[in-house]
């Protein structure tokens, strides 16, 4: 997700091409071409410019709706409704052919990954493994990060693994039961934390962890645009 205000212009984008199965956007205002995954202009008058980053999450609708009952939802365009994908689109697309492949870390081209590009580094987490483990404390570059699976068992969020105002590593644990909405507890403050990364009880109540953008992507695409990526759980 990207902002559209760049260089004093409000840009309007169109899908305009494909680059190794990641699409290119063209802006109407300058005719520049932008890579979807990086938000960077790769050709045209704005070449080298970067779209401002806007944080987003990939969630199950039920989880999002319970968090944001006042939110709004993009509606189907009536003319195209019958062409829309089924809800398991990303899983079904795993059968689609690929044109580039990176046979590394024992991963297949269309294995679903959770990619984090932050703190000067890139790291990919196998989606299925994160879902199994439910809570992952790891690092991206020199920074500790926390990945948490929501109560729906499919949504994942990532946070910086440090509690604002508390020194030292917090050490989070997955909870079996507790306050409604509580998913985990930290050893440093004994607080319970919800899926939004906010403490809902204990010493840290009211404090929220800093969110980290995590992108669900196929391995070949993530690796292609993040050539120096490391992979969680793999050498």
């Amino acid at each position: 997700m990207w902002g559209r205000d760049v260089a004093g212009l409000r840009l309007t984008f169109h899908l305009a091409g494909i680059n190794d199965q990641n699409f290119l956007m063209r802006d109407e205002q300058t005719g520049s071409y932008w890579q979807q995954i990086s938000g960077k202009a790769v050709s045209g008058p704005l070449r080298g410019s970067q779209l401002p980053f806007v944080h987003s999450d990939e969630l199950n609708y039920g989880t999002w709706q319970s968090e944001e009952p006042q939110g709004t939802v993009l509606q189907d365009a009536a003319a195209y409704r019958f062409g829309y994908a089924r809800k398991d689109w990303d899983v079904r697309m795993q059968r689609a052919p690929v044109v580039i492949d990176f046979r590394e870390h024992g991963l297949k081209a269309r294995d679903l990954m959770l990619g984090i590009q932050a703190f000067g580094a890139s790291r990919a987490f196998p989606y299925d493994q994160v879902i199994r483990e439910k809570l992952v404390e790891d690092h991206v570059g020199a920074e500790r990060v926390l990945l948490v699976v929501g109560q729906d068992g499919q949504s994942v969020r990532a946070f910086r693994d440090r509690i604002p105002g508390i020194s030292g590593a917090p050490e989070f644990y997955r909870m079996g039961a507790g306050q409604p909405g509580a998913l985990m507890m930290d050893a440093a403050t004994g607080s319970e934390w919800n899926f939004q990364g906010c403490a809902i009880s204990g010493k840290a109540k009211g404090v929220c962890l800093e969110p980290v953008e995590v992108i669900k992507d196929y391995w070949f695409d993530w690796r292609n645009f993040n050539p120096s990526t490391t992979v969680y759980g793999r050498k």
Partner: protein
């Protein structure tokens, strides 16, 4: 027949063929390079994007050149079938100039130029439907993946912030 007339014919025909070649490259090369299910090399992609950027103007210049070459050739060439062949060539260049204004990918992926939104309370989606969710200030919005994976690009404004949702 003078050698001067023959030379004029050759020059006009050469210009016409050069215009056909230039316009054809402008239209076909980007489609060849930037087609789905093909790996794109960095250099060829860069060239294709530059071609796409300038091809509207280039193909118009080419069409004007082709028409001028046709007039010139017509005057110097008495044989009808050769005139007709040259006319077809110039017409083809004009058609290419029109095609150069169309980005096939922008049509292929069905843009949703007027996205509409509704309150979550009035939206019927299964709870396990996946959405891309954003929150700016107190404004929250969800883009169902079943929808955005079809259109791929949604230009939007949320809480006065212009955003582009992509998938």
């Amino acid at each position: 027949m003078t050698s001067e007339v023959q030379r004029t014919r050759r020059i006009c025909l050469s210009v016409l063929l050069a215009c056909v070649a230039l316009s054809l490259i402008c239209v076909v090369y980007p489609i060849y390079v930037i087609r789905p299910f093909r790996a794109q090399g960095a250099r060829e992609l860069a060239v294709a994007l530059v071609v796409m950027q300038f091809r509207s103007a280039a193909t118009v210049v080419s069409a004007v050149g082709a028409l001028a070459a046709l007039v010139c050739y017509w005057r110097a060439q008495p044989r009808r079938w050769r005139r007709a062949f040259a006319t077809l060539g110039a017409a083809f260049v004009c058609v290419l100039a029109a095609l150069a204004r169309v980005n096939i990918y922008e049509l292929m992926f069905h843009p949703d130029d007027r996205p509409t939104f509704a309150d979550a309370s009035r939206t019927k989606l299964d709870k396990d439907e996946k959405v891309i969710a954003i929150k700016i200030g107190v404004a929250a919005r969800a883009y169902p993946i079943r929808n955005i994976s079809y259109h791929h690009v949604i230009n939007d404004v949320l809480d006065k912030v212009a955003i582009v949702a992509t998938y």
